[in-house]
């Protein structure tokens, strides 16, 4: 570095002060100073900021043919070079890119800037400064393969995450690594979040607003979204019920994995253990919507075998469907009374019409609503009484027998 430092100082000394240069058209004049990689200035807080510009990088960029002053519009006179005045605080990309600016101004990053957040992303934070390349260029910061890395520069930065109260868990970028979306190489942050007009989670126009998620995912998965929006979950989500699940509730968010992956929440081993029960066994939601079927499932043959790891045994989705879950009152529902024979018959060939009749999620109780529940409840009570009486009697009898024989044998 040292030779360059000396070279820099030398160049500064030999630069003719007060000489007249035409600012614009010829970038050579600018680079005559700014090609020095030790060139720096102090910002308003006294922090050292490099003002070095790599000439080759700039020339190979999409803007390489533009003159410096096309963007740095306010640097027009010799006083810049003379005093090194930083008068051009911010380059205005919008002078050319009006459309992008219009979008950007509706987005979260621009709002954060207006709120005074210091590190909110501006054009150059994502696109780069002098080395901007078109998004199609694999070397571009905004090329699909680089977007995750570009966003992670802030969103995986622990200090940044802490300052902006973005949560203590793993960063979205870390979660995204190893996800099926990352593996395909066709999806990145902006595919779901949007780019210039990226909006906040709480903005109803946001692509990631709760009830907009099905449409966001539907951009690539249109058939599934079509099924989902007509399901009970989709209908309720569209009505704005925040309790109602959307795609991400079951599939996960940044770290979505294929259902074959044992870590995926939609893996068949996890569906009935964690994924559906996260709501359907939750106290608050169960009370609100009046369902609590998970326990009865766990105690059923299906549930017991499933809990033991039997993958042939039915889980929630086997009977209720996956994306097109509908209430039993809906004639299109897999668990509608007219469809139960077919649904059960998928695993129980030859199931009769009678097979699907009767309460499935029954809970044995002598005070149950259903007749069968009552009968089973009474069977249970009678048997428990019988077990206690018979086995208790045996224990009493044998213990007395043992006691007498032991006492008789005392030395």
């Amino acid at each position: 570095m040292r030779p360059f430092l000396f070279l820099g100082i030398f160049l500064l000394l030999v630069t003719p002060i007060g000489s007249s240069v035409v600012w614009g058209g010829n970038n050579g004049a600018c680079f005559s100073c700014h090609k020095d990689d030790s060139l720096s200035k102090q910002d308003a807080r006294g922090k050292k900021v490099s003002i070095f510009v790599a000439e080759k990088e700039y020339e190979s960029s999409i803007h390489g043919r533009l003159s410096c002053s096309d963007c740095h519009t306010q640097i027009r006179d010799d006083s810049h070079a003379a005093g090194g005045k930083a008068i051009d605080r911010r380059v205005n990309c919008a002078s050319c890119h009006q459309g992008a600016e219009k979008e950007y101004k509706m987005g979260l990053h621009s709002k954060m800037i207006m709120k005074g957040t210091e590190r909110a992303a501006y054009c150059q934070d994502c696109h780069g400064k002098h080395g901007i390349r078109p998004s199609k260029d694999p070397k571009s910061l905004t090329h699909l393969s680089n977007i995750a890395r570009t966003c992670s520069r802030c969103h995986s930065d622990k200090e940044f995450v802490r300052q902006h109260a973005m949560g203590a868990g793993p960063s979205p970028g870390d979660l995204f690594k190893g996800s099926i979306h990352e593996k395909t190489g066709e999806v990145s942050c902006t595919s779901c979040h949007g780019s210039h007009n990226l909006r906040s989670l709480i903005d109803p126009k946001s692509t990631i607003f709760h009830s907009n998620i099905p449409q966001t995912c539907g951009a690539c998965h249109p058939q599934i979204t079509e099924q989902f929006v007509n399901s009970i979950h989709g209908v309720l989500a569209a009505r704005g019920r925040s309790d109602s699940p959307t795609c991400t509730t079951c599939h996960g968010i940044h770290g979505i994995k294929t259902k074959a992956d044992p870590d995926s929440p939609v893996n068949e081993r996890r569906i009935a253990m964690t994924t559906c029960p996260q709501c359907h066994a939750a106290e608050r939601i169960s009370k609100e919507y009046g369902f609590s079927k998970v326990k009865s499932y766990y105690d059923s043959f299906h549930g017991l075998a499933y809990r033991g790891g039997d993958t042939f045994s039915a889980n929630c989705a086997s009977c209720h469907g996956v994306h097109d879950i509908r209430p039993s009152s809906d004639p299109k529902s897999m668990i509608h009374k007219d469809n139960l024979q077919k649904t059960c018959g998928a695993c129980h060939p030859g199931a009769s019409a009678n097979f699907g009749k009767g309460k499935i999620h029954s809970v044995a109780s002598i005070s149950g609503e259903d007749f069968g529940e009552k009968v089973v409840g009474w069977v249970r009570v009678i048997y428990l009484f019988l077990i206690v009486a018979v086995i208790g009697g045996m224990i009493f009898f044998n213990f007395a027998d043992w006691l007498r024989k032991t006492i008789e044998r005392r030395p």
Binding site: F301, L304, A305, R307, G308, G309, D310, T311, F312, S313, H348, P349, G350, A351, S352, N354, F355, K357, G358, K359, I360, S362, A364, D370, F371, G372, E373, V375, V376, V379, R380, Y383, L384, L386, I387, V390, I391, M394, I395, F397, N398, A400, D401, W402, L403, R404, K405, T406, E408, R409
Partner: protein
């Protein structure tokens, strides 16, 4: 050498062994389903397709035990010994009395303890035998309902299936606890037999064991042996002391061949030449 009394023939011992193995398998594979997260089930749930194989083995053992039950019925009907077992197994008022007196002995109400003479099958064994028959019937019927639920649910409402399921479970609890508490006490932990009653392996009881649990049967055996020996001349001089039967009724071909040779020898030796 102490005298031995036949308790279980080889055939019966194999029936017992078969029941023992299959009952254990059924209990383990059955409760493994009901308590899939219990610590002792982890070898099953950790194994690949463990739970699926568990179900298969449970059904297989169920079939084995039902087959054994069928064989046992045939054995009880078509063998002379089996028919005698049925006659001796019939419960009577004496069994209730024996149980009552034992209880009084045990609670020190009878002082001194009364000596209780019981028959070939005492009240403990009769209770257990009938409990086993009842349990096997209940488990077979409910088990097949659960197994062939498609066929069953063609004719019966779903709640009957749920009832069968509940009964199958609670009867299993009852049966397993009964084996542990009742059977294991009488054949293992009872101070009279501890550490174990060997009859299930050797097939016989000692005279002491007979006296303790089957006093009446012991007396009957001795009386019948005396009666048999009454016909034998030599028995008179020793007071009917011979314990082996004078004449064996059923002999193997080899024994019969040997017997023929022996008889021939006797005849030759005793031949006076007239």
């Amino acid at each position: 050498m102490t005298k031995k009394y036949l308790r279980l023939t080889l055939n019966e011992r194999f029936q017992h062994l078969n029941l023992m193995i299959n009952f254990t398998i059924l209990a383990i594979t059955g409760f493994a389903l009901k308590y899939p997260t219990a610590f002792w089930v982890s070898p099953i749930t950790d194994a690949p397709a463990g739970m699926t194989i568990r179900g298969f083995i449970h059904r297989l053992s169920g079939v084995a035990i039902v087959t054994l039950g069928g064989y046992h019925i045939l054995y009880m009907i078509f063998s002379e010994r089996g028919r005698q077992i049925v006659r001796d197994m019939l419960p009577g008022l004496k069994d209730a009395k024996d149980l009552w007196e034992t209880l009084k002995n045990n609670l020190f109400i009878n002082r001194p303890a009364k000596e209780i003479k019981m028959g070939r099958f005492n009240y403990k064994e009769k209770l257990e035998y009938f409990a086993l028959i009842w349990g096997t019937l209940v488990m077979t019927v409910t088990g097949f309902i659960l197994w062939y639920e498609v066929e069953w649910l063609k004719y019966f409402p779903r709640w009957t299936y749920d009832v069968a399921r509940a009964i199958h479970f609670y009867e299993a609890v009852l049966a397993t606890l009964a084996i542990i508490v009742w059977h294991f006490y009488s054949v293992l932990l009872d101070p009279d037999v501890y550490p174990m009653n060997w009859a299930w392996i050797t097939g016989h009881l000692t005279e002491h064991e007979m006296k303790l649990d089957h006093g009446l049967e012991l007396e009957r055996i001795k009386a019948s042996q005396k009666a048999e020996l009454a016909d034998v001349d030599e028995a008179a001089s020793v007071g009917g002391g011979r314990v082996y039967p004078a004449r064996q009724e059923r002999l193997s071909p080899m024994q019969r061949l040997y017997g023929t040779v022996r008889d021939l020898n006797e005849t030759l030796k005793n031949w006076r030449g007239n």
